[in-house]
């Protein structure tokens, strides 16, 4: 039976995610007038561009078996810093944007170094990073700062027309570039393979002679950069900087990554899945908006339950895989164990 559709089992979670997305979209498409407008589809990208970018960074962190709770705060900090530098200091955005990107990247690098070299749990370090970045927002300004520089305005109004009346703004272009770079990085470079190896089993990655320390620091650095870039995109989107922006975004990003089929224990998952994870959340929001009578907090509940569902599914897949491997190993118990299947024995 399996010979007919030769889809590798490892793609199943990804396919489930894409299937769910298509299902949700079809539901909206046939239930609501106006949903069929292609611009509704593009709006998913436009409204979630910053979340998409930062979730891609988060995917790498989770693939490596870590977690980053600081991204929402780093995005807010980037918007505040951009607004402050361009408004109060009067710097040109072309100077401001590289500066804030550098600051975000540095924050990520520092957190990564502490995680790696002091052997502190990523959870705690990035929690501190989150407090720090949020606090720094308010040290700079407790109020929202409007960005009035014409360059930002031009950027935010810049639209690339597509077929019909549809368009995409520059934010989506940035996202597409990030996505392409991330897929290349994850699946076609040594760095990407090392990230997967660390997530699979850090000890064996180390014993294989992979540059574990460097890669781990780099993963958090990359995530810092992605968050800062998402912050730049968000400041263009909102045309202001405020310390309360993107509160709790780290959870949305983690949920997107999980819904996208990446295992939170690390080592398994795809960047493309994360994109669909974000889009599914966007679709739920859009559907609830179109529906009109449901309150927006249903989004939270549905996203929470969906996350749970996907986690359950992952553990089901994982235990099915373990049973399969165990069965395989009994078949050829005389042979030595194949490499990479050391987790044959199910946990008690």
């Amino acid at each position: 039976m399996m010979e007919k559709f030769k889809i590798d089992r490892k793609f199943w979670p990804l396919l489930v995610t894409i299937g769910l997305f298509l299902l949700l979209y079809a539901y909206g498409f046939f239930s609501y007038r106006g949903f069929s407008n292609p611009q509704v589809f593009f709006n998913l990208f436009i409204d979630n561009a910053f979340l998409l970018i930062t979730s891609i960074g988060m995917t790498f962190v989770i693939l490596s078996g870590g977690i980053d709770l600081s991204i929402g705060a780093v995005i807010a900090f980037t918007t505040v810093l951009s607004a402050y530098l361009s408004e109060d200091w009067g710097l040109h955005p072309l100077v401001v944007i590289p500066m804030v990107l550098l600051v975000g990247t540095l924050l990520g690098a520092v957190m990564g170094s502490i995680i790696q070299f002091f052997k502190v749990q990523p959870f705690i370090v990035t929690l501190a990073g989150m407090f720090f970045a949020r606090g720094m927002c308010f040290v700079i300004s407790t109020d929202a700062i409007t960005i009035s520089h014409p360059f930002y305005r031009t950027l935010s109004l810049f639209r690339i027309p597509l077929f019909g009346k549809t368009f995409i703004p520059i934010n989506v272009v940035i996202f597409l570039v990030v996505l392409a770079a991330a897929i290349y990085l994850a699946h076609f470079t040594r760095f990407g393979r090392t990230v997967y190896a660390i997530g699979g089993n850090e000890q064996s990655a180390l014993l294989m002679g992979l540059p574990v320390a460097r890669t781990k620091v780099l993963v958090y650095t990359l995530n810092g950069f992605c968050s800062a870039l998402a912050g730049v995109v968000f400041s263009v989107y909102m045309l202001s900087g405020y310390g309360l922006y993107t509160n709790g975004l780290e959870l949305d990003a983690i949920a997107s990554v999980v819904i996208g089929g990446t295992q939170l224990t690390g080592g398994v998952g795809y960047v493309a899945g994360t994109v669909f994870g974000v889009l599914i959340q966007g679709l739920i929001q859009t559907t609830i908006m179109f529906q009109g009578t449901l309150n927006s907090w249903w989004t939270k509940i549905v996203v929470g339950l969906l996350t749970l569902l996907f986690i359950m599914m992952q553990s089901a897949f994982a235990s099915a895989r373990r049973t399969r491997l165990a069965a395989k190993s009994i078949d050829k118990s005389a042979d030595r164990l194949p490499v990479g299947e050391t987790e044959l024995v199910p946990d008690a």
Partner: protein, 355 residues
């Protein structure tokens, strides 16, 4: 080796050494720079002063820290306590005035000093709701074998939605004065909340130090599978820890909503899960589980609260507290990290040993 050095070493290796030092440092700082910090006065038979204030305001955090200690000791973490606080507060507020949840009512009806539900139910039902939340977390962690961080993340995201569902998205103000006693009343001159904290603490301490439960928790946290093989029902130990944590968060939710006289589904207990974890970590319980210290967690909560109060006393914008907290977390985790511990030992021992 000189005896003083070994005494110093013993002290330094005592689990409560750093928390006590930190608390003393904050107090010393206040003694020097904050005038009137240690002044206590009696007004209307109640004790007033910054110290009492710290204890009173720190009460919810201390409760959370007690519950969180148990969870972290089983090598878990509970991220949903903030959401549980919101749920408990929302439930209490809606029980006091159910009309508010669903419809708009005239303002004269709003400010009536009555409750629609008997007070004992107003207290009991939110606590049951919170305990059920804890049960849910516990089942996900112990039975569905989901990583604690992820399992509780679900309720952290969905819980605020549930709380908003209860309050219908409004911030509900409470006008029922007997309810205020829980978080703002005084008994024998001390805030009533302190007695609640003391009761919960004594219960947790008794259970974990005078019965074998504490030993079970530590053994599950150190190595869940080997505890299983030595006959400990590790699943139920974990389940109980999460239930207890949810229960503590429920009490904290009642205290907070009673103290601020309202229920805000969005902001009640916001980031309190992080504060609670921070308190536990400052108190010397390792995030990796195993040995835990309830006293340490209480000290941790007090450190966080006195730090906050100190910063407020200086008229610094409250948001700056976050930056200070971040630096404290960093300092604490670095102090506890292996690298620093080893190098500190080297530093002290070199001085002690006579060639």
């Amino acid at each position: 080796m000189k005896p003083t050095t070994s005494l110093l070493k013993d002290l330094r290796h005592h689990s409560l050494f750093w928390p006590v030092v930190a608390l003393l440092l904050i107090m010393l700082f206040n003694l020097l720079f904050t005038p009137g910090f240690f002044r206590l006065e009696i007004k209307d038979g109640h004790l007033f002063g910054s110290l009492v204030d710290i204890l009173n305001r720190g009460a919810p955090l201390m409760l959370l820290a007690i519950g969180m200690t148990m969870v972290i000791a089983t090598a878990g973490v509970d991220l949903s306590v903030g959401a549980i606080i919101a749920i408990a507060g929302a439930a209490a507020a809606v029980l006091i005035n159910p009309a508010l949840g669903r419809e708009l009512v005239t303002s004269d009806k709003l400010i009536e000093d009555v409750t629609q539900t008997p007070l004992w139910l107003v207290i009991l039902i939110p606590l049951i709701a919170a305990t059920v939340c804890g049960l849910w977390n516990g089942i996900l962690v112990s039975r569905a074998n989901i990583q604690p961080m992820v399992a509780t993340l679900v309720l952290m995201v969905a819980g605020r939605g549930i709380a908003q569902l209860i309050t219908n998205g409004q911030i509900i103000t409470i006008y029922y004065s007997p309810y205020f006693y829980i978080g703002g009343g005084y008994l024998f001159g001390l805030p009533f909340s302190l007695y609640i904290v003391a009761a919960v603490f004594l219960f947790a301490w008794y259970i974990s130090r005078k019965t074998s439960v504490g030993l079970f928790v530590e053994s599950v946290g150190t190595n869940a599978s080997s505890s299983f093989y030595s006959g400990i029902n590790e699943k139920n130990v974990k389940l109980l820890a999460y239930i207890f944590c949810g229960f503590c968060a429920g009490i904290a939710g009642l205290l907070i909503s009673s103290n601020v006289k309202s229920a805000d589904a969005n902001n009640a207990g916001l980031w309190s899960e992080l504060d609670a974890i921070l308190a536990v970590v400052i108190g010397g319980t390792l995030m990796s589980g195993g040995r835990f210290s309830l006293v340490g967690s209480i000290l941790g909560a007090l450190i966080i609260q006195s730090m906050t109060t100190t910063i407020y006393a200086f008229g610094v914008p409250p948001e700056v507290v976050l930056v200070v907290k971040a630096l404290v977390v960093l300092a604490v985790v670095l102090l506890y990290s292996e690298l620093v511990k080893v190098s500190m030992d080297k530093l002290f021992e070199q001085k002690g040993v006579q060639p």
